[in-house]
């Protein structure tokens, strides 16, 4: 490992200052991804600014029925919080579908959202990867890409966003609160992660120096039927081949509110806006749901070996939505 400076920040201002927006600076949360990447030589920071001593570990009511979750809250605490489990089951379920018990105990909310793709070409510094080394090429496109993206990928990158939490947050229209050199701002969870386009090295809209300080869960979807379902190669400690987060509210048998978001298919959580648009105001019969999901997935551009993800995503979204329709109708 490359030697680095370590700063245990005592305040947010001190943290932002220590980071300085320099390209070699990194914030440290639970370290469950960053430290691995440092060992592999993928990340080679000069300075690590440890945020875990900051008072960012609270889950509070916002007064309007929503919740404010500090970015230092550990994944296991986030998932188990009674208000989260009661109001946003989809978020709790997504957290518990991620990683392993030990990792969830260490991983933070902010770090979870900023974790890097698990593309094996990204993790191997001997191979080309435009995300790790812009302009070097993409080893995965013609390589081993069964786990890679089918939606929104570019000629430069076919990686997927690995966080389960991010998918659920996009489905409940959460906001991500950032504190940077220019002060405080919030970004919708739906646009927090980016599509790769011509700059796959940028996973998110975070700019150097930004600290994720909180996740804001809005009052709107609180208490509505919601669900997260993830498909993986083994029952735990495995990234999503595909996942779906959904929230549904019915009014007299018609869809009043629906949110559907896919994980494991793209470089960001993929809000199925076409599906949502088709279902809003409609009677959500199985047939209507199927057609709405299929319409979304018409955009899919599967690669040589990952075409199965399209059918899988369809099955999954239809199943989750049908389940929510039944529970919303009951």
């Amino acid at each position: 490992m490359k030697p680095f400076a370590y700063v245990a920040a005592g305040s947010l201002a001190e943290a932002v200052d220590a980071h300085g927006g320099r390209p070699g600076s990194r914030y440290l949360g639970g370290g469950t991804n960053l430290v691995d990447l440092m060992k592999l030589g993928v990340e080679r920071p000069d300075t690590l600014v440890d945020l875990t001593r900051l008072p960012l570990d609270a889950i509070e009511e916002t007064g309007d029925g929503g919740l404010r979750v500090g970015s230092g809250v550990r994944n296991s605490d986030f998932a188990a919080h009674p208000l989260v489990a009661a109001r946003y089951p989809v978020v709790s379920q997504a957290l518990l579908a991620g990683a392993s018990g030990q990792l969830r105990n260490a991983a933070t909310t902010g770090g979870n959202l900023l974790q890097r793709t698990r593309c094996s070409y990204f993790q191997d510094i001997s191979k080309p990867c435009n995300k790790r080394e812009p302009g070097s090429g993409c080893g995965a496109r013609d390589g081993v890409h069964r786990d890679h993206a089918v939606l929104g990928h570019s000629a430069h990158c076919i990686a997927t966003q690995p966080s389960d939490l991010a998918v659920a947050l996009a489905a409940v229209d959460a906001q991500i609160e950032l504190r940077g050199p220019q002060g405080l701002r919030t970004v919708p969870a739906t646009t927090f992660h980016r599509l790769p386009g011509d700059s796959p090295e940028q996973d998110t809209v975070v700019v150097p120096g930004d600290i994720v300080t909180a996740v804001l869960l809005p009052p709107g979807p609180a208490g509505l039927p919601s669900r997260y379902r993830k498909v993986r190669d083994r029952a735990s400690y495995s990234f999503a081949l595909a996942s779906v987060a959904a929230v549904l509210d019915l009014d007299a048998g018609r869809v009043r509110h629906v949110a559907v978001c896919f994980g494991g298919l793209a470089h960001r959580p993929w809000r199925a806006t076409i599906t949502e648009e088709r279902l809003r105001g409609a009677v959500p019969t199985q047939e209507a749901v199927r057609q709405a999901v299929e319409a979304e997935l018409l955009q899919a551009q599967p690669l040589r070996d990952n075409g199965y993800k399209v059918g899988l995503a369809k099955n999954l979204a239809c199943d989750v939505l049908d389940t929510l329709v039944r529970s919303a109708s009951a």
């Binding site: 510094i125 993986r232 029952a235 735990s236 099955n315």
Partner: protein, 705 residues
Amino acid sequence: MNSTSVAVVGTALGTPTTRREGWEKVTGTARYAAEHTPPRCAHAWPVPATVARGRVTAVDTTAALALPGVIAVLTPFDAPRLGPTDDPQLHVLQDTVVPHHGWYVALAVADTLEAAREAAQAVRVTYETDPDTPHDVVLTVDHPGVYTPEKANGGYPAHLEQGDAATSFAASPVRVECTYKVPPLHNHPMEPHAATAHWDGGTGRLTVHDSSQGAGPVRTALASLFDLPEDSITVISEHVGGGFGSKGTPRPHVVLAVMAARHTGRPVKLALPRRHMPAVVGHRAPTLHHVRLAAREDGVLTALAHEVTTYTSRVSEFVEQAAVPARVMYAAPAHLTTHRVVALDVPTPSWMRAPGECPGMYALESAMDELADALGLDPVELRIRNEPATEPESGHPFSSRHVVDCLREGATRFGWSAHRASRRDGPLLIGTGVAAATYPVLVSPCTARAHALPDGTYVVEVNATDIGTGARTVLAQIAADALGVPLDRVTTAIGHTTLPEAPLAGGSSGTASWGWAVHDACTALIARLDRHEGPVPDGGLSASADTRAHAKQRSPYARHAFGAQFAEVQVDTVTGEVRARRLLGVFAAGRILNPLTARSQFVGGMIMGLGMALTEHSTTDPAFGDFPESDLASYHVPVHADVGDIEAHWIEEDDKHLNPAGGKGIGEIGIVGTAAAVGNAFCHATGRRLRELPLTPDRVLAVLG
């Protein structure tokens, strides 16, 4: 002796007994090879090749050597020359040829682990590759380089043929012909391969702590490579965190650690990073199986052909003996078993738990299931009808063979008949499957020594290795019963080359081999004590044994362990996820010496077989020539959540033709047949057959349509 002791004498074997080192292991005080840190210990980090075929033309170490704390960087151009070895994989840094991706091309040595790692990353290696002969890592059945070797691993003839399979096949009323595919699989023991090497400059003595399945073979290899007498080398493998075959032969890490220690004059520690392991510690080669079975209407086999195609490296030939179990399991007038192999630019495959039997029985027992379907016959009954009277290949009588008993007892315990209708539970399809299991009984010559001490205790010495199996414990049980004393009077000393010479922990033969010598040493000690008059002297009394004369004798019997595996799986039609709800194995493996640790062995094998069935696989990347699934996040060994209800049972066999303790070896048979039982259950559940492992959602969804 008091009366309490008398009551337990002679009953150590067969009694569930906890591991003697259990306390040290669960409290973290048991020290593994990388946890020994001599004063001034340096750390080494190897540099793997990033091309799969080529030649190193230059290694620029300037940047690496300029880093703080870096002591040396060894390259193929300046590394110390090594003596002869019969394993070219141990000739590290001796020439510039790169035979596969991940082959070591340099070694960084530094004061700290972090500095060594950083130095390794800073080494710049230049390769020459020939565009006219690009690397080739993809196994295909019709690869132009495929040949029939003389022998498969284990010394088995590669090709055996009785009768005319093609004619018999064509003339038979019922037949199946199927191809099966098993991907590359990796041993991935929890403890990575690691060594700490320490030269004593004054005495010239070399001491090595190595994570190995056999300290003796490691010492022999090091003596030749470093031109030292064996008695000036001590190799210690006191605690070993699993091996599954990958630590059965000396591996490059130990040679590099010793080389670096000699070169730098410092003790050197080297633990392989997980990601290096697939390329340097062996793996199970992929196998392509072509199986033809033909039978009469009553299910009795008329023809059996099992043809295996696999790969080896360009470094040395290793042929996974996957067609060999067919020579043991089923008789047929026409019987053909053959292996073909092609040398590719891949790491050299090696032993992985039940080499041969594990992939071979997946294919054979899947094909038997397909034959049962074709006959409309119960798969348990089909196997019973094909139970041979003698070993099909040799005609020798079996020393004991209770596969039918295992099938029947397993069927009863599992509720086989009651579950023969597959069912649907919402989106889940549920089915059951069965497969037989076999693994040979092996034994090697061994020596041991037993001491009686004046305080009434005993010490038994043998250079055995406990790779997590409970060897230390079971050898004490064998000694206690042979000596006729309570178990707590016996101490076992193992894992050290200063102890009497012993074979490695492999081939499920450790307990039989070591136990035989321990038994004989204890018997000799009793005779010595009987002859001795008066109290045991201060220095104790000792006796030794060497089983060479007996253990090497060819048995007139065919000796194998057998078993039956049952599985109930559920297939999620929405997601394609397959989960094993229940696994149940019944094994006939001679006398079970320690039911507690034996159960762990069986269950552990079954779970590894479950991984093979559902989750484990790696890929040879055509573009880069490596295995991209090189860490435990991407190479999916099963986790607790993957394992449903799991049971292991056994039938006690009283087999007089084995060894004094009467055990057949249990380390490997648990993995044999599991994948076939799971695959057969998948077919029962869905009505669709998948012939390529593992049964991952992509493949499942493709066949469910």
